[in-house]
Amino acid sequence: MKLITVAGPPSSGKTSVIIRLIECMDMPKSSIGVVKFDCLTSFDNLRYNEANIPNETGFSGKICPDHFFVSNIEDAVQWGIESNFEMLITESAGLCNRCSPYINGILSICVIDNLSGINTPRKIGPMLKFADIVVVTKGDIVSQAEREVFTFNIKQVNTSAKVIFVNGITGQGSFLLTKYLKQTQDIVTLKDMKLKFTTPAAVCSYCTGETKIGDLYQMGMMKKMEFNKL
């Protein structure tokens, strides 16, 4: 089974891109499954169901979404293999720019949209930096110049990424993306494989349910801001 990880900020068009992509893959619908990693609620399952794409959704809830991803990804892979998928696509919403649910040797796709602001690529961090392919959506409603500046800003952060413009509504551009997907290696397990980037450190009192504010209640891993005297 092939595994593809897709990440991107909320509402950047991940689900649309994945659905267009699957339509374009020219494979039986039941042979490609999707696992959606989300935080609190998600309505994407409705869209996958509508498109007859087998899917499963997991909510990280109070757990850091990145940690949640790592601790469930191998189970997702085994679910995919048991379901006889030829390809499994994981979709995760990167909630802080720090997130990057990518694994070495596994094709990683970052989806960002052209409307999110021209400097956004420079702010996204590991999720963009460690992606093999960067898919840019909503390019059809901005000028050629803005698309080019956007690409330039992506290249600033990730010089080796392939940048592909995909129209999530018409599917334009998804064809080329399928070519990359077909080139990926088959896997049977992720055991012993490594994440491309460390997950956020989070072992402090607030991780374990503390809600009160103040030095007295802060314990464990902390990082303090510096405020300069004016």
Binding site: N114, L115, G117, I118, R122, G125, P126, D140, I141, V142, S143, Q144, A145, E146, E148, V149, T151, F152, N153, K155, Q156, V157, T159, S160, K162, V163, I164, F165, T170, Q172, G173, F175, L176, K179, Y180, F197, T198
Partner: protein, 344 residues
């Protein structure tokens, strides 16, 4: 050779010297929140004084920072490749929606203007898509696109992707909050345009020529009218973007001189494909492809006779333009205007 040079520059030159040659390095530093590292030392030594925590947060160490700066510089200093030299584009026919073979093929030379006509939903966009992804008999239409008479292998297809084709369409807008001047500067920077100042000036003058109403360099791009935006996008695509092929999807009624716009693009040796319902644009093209039932059905070369009727269409168009101007300047549109007009 080039690679080695960059490495030795980064190793030996102080950062401020490097910045003088490659101002773009400042962007690299900003991306890692390293703007404030000392500039009077070579990069690696300057890094020694950077906050370790920052490097850790970005998941890098000093050596990998050097490598990334190197590949960053390499990406942004490399010469544009063979792309710029597209002299012809050939579309070999595939199938229409009923799986019947398309009987026509089309070879387009640079500087040529081709219009694509056909009812809505007939497959005009499909053809533009095939060109954009350099179809190799692997899209639903089975068409094959040749560049300079040659087939494209998979590798170069991925390489080329995205840089070959610039697109312009009716529903495009500016979303960044910049003035016209800042916008052009930003685009010039990202294109690494040499002689940026001259090119920016050219874009600006030309956009103003195309637009019905003039605008200044201090105008915010988001405040431009539809016509002014279109004019700026076209001038910008003509002079700044280096994609050799321009796909235009419906620019009628955009409040600009459409013919002048198309000719401006073609003059810069680009291949222009215009999907349109507008007779003026369609006849301004050298050839037009008629799409029917998803397939290229006919190719009509614009004849001398047709070119002559272009004059009549232009007259009609000018009348429209005149009426629009009258509206704009607060005149009344009364019947006597039409009595003085000779339409033939």
């Amino acid at each position: 050779m080039m690679t080695e040079d960059l490495f030795s520059i980064l190793h030996n030159q102080n950062l401020d010297e490097v910045l003088k040659t490659y101002p773009i390095v400042m962007d690299f530093l900003a991306n890692y929140r390293l703007e404030d590292i000392p500039k009077d030392k070579p990069f690696i030594e300057a890094l020694n004084q950077a906050d370790d925590e920052i490097l850790e947060e970005f998941g890098v160490d000093q050596y990998s920072m050097l490598l990334s700066l190197h590949s960053f510089l390499k990406t942004f200093t490399s010469e544009e490749t063979a792309l710029a030299s597209v002299s012809s584009l050939t579309i070999l026919g595939g199938f229409n929606k009923s799986r019947e073979a398309e009987s026509v093929s089309l070879k387009i030379q640079s500087g040529e203007i081709i219009s694509i006509v056909g009812p809505t939903g007939s497959g005009k966009s499909r053809l533009l898509n095939d060109i954009e992804c350099l179809a190799q008999e692997d899209t639903p239409t089975g068409r094959k696109i040749l560049v300079n008479d040659r087939e494209i292998d998979e590798d170069s297809r991925f390489e080329i992707e995205g840089k070959l084709v610039a697109q312009l369409s009716q529903n495009m807008n500016f979303v960044m909050d910049l003035t016209v001047q800042e916008f052009l500067e930003m685009h010039a920077k990202s294109r690494l345009t040499p002689k940026a100042k001259i090119v920016i000036e050219k874009c600006f003058t030309c956009a103003n020529d195309l637009a019905g109403e003039k605008f200044s360099k201090d105008t915010k791009v988001t405040q431009l009218s539809g016509g002014q935006s279109r004019a700026l996008m076209i001038a910008d695509t003509a002079f700044m973007s280096n994609s050799p092929i321009v796909l235009i999807d419906e620019i009628e009624n955009a409040g600009i001189d459409r013919r002048q716009a198309i000719e401006l693009l073609a003059r810069n040796d680009k291949i222009i494909l215009v999907s349109t319902h507008d007779p003026l644009l369609a006849l301004s093209a050298d050839k037009r492809v008629v799409i029917k039932n998803g397939g290229m059905y006919k190719i009509i070369e614009t004849s001398e006779e047709e070119k002559q009727s272009l004059a009549a269409i232009e007259k009609l168009d000018n009348i429209q333009h005149m009426l629009r101007q009258k509206l704009r300047f607060g005149h009344c549109i009364t019947e006597d205007i039409f009595e003085n007009l000779q339409i033939r």
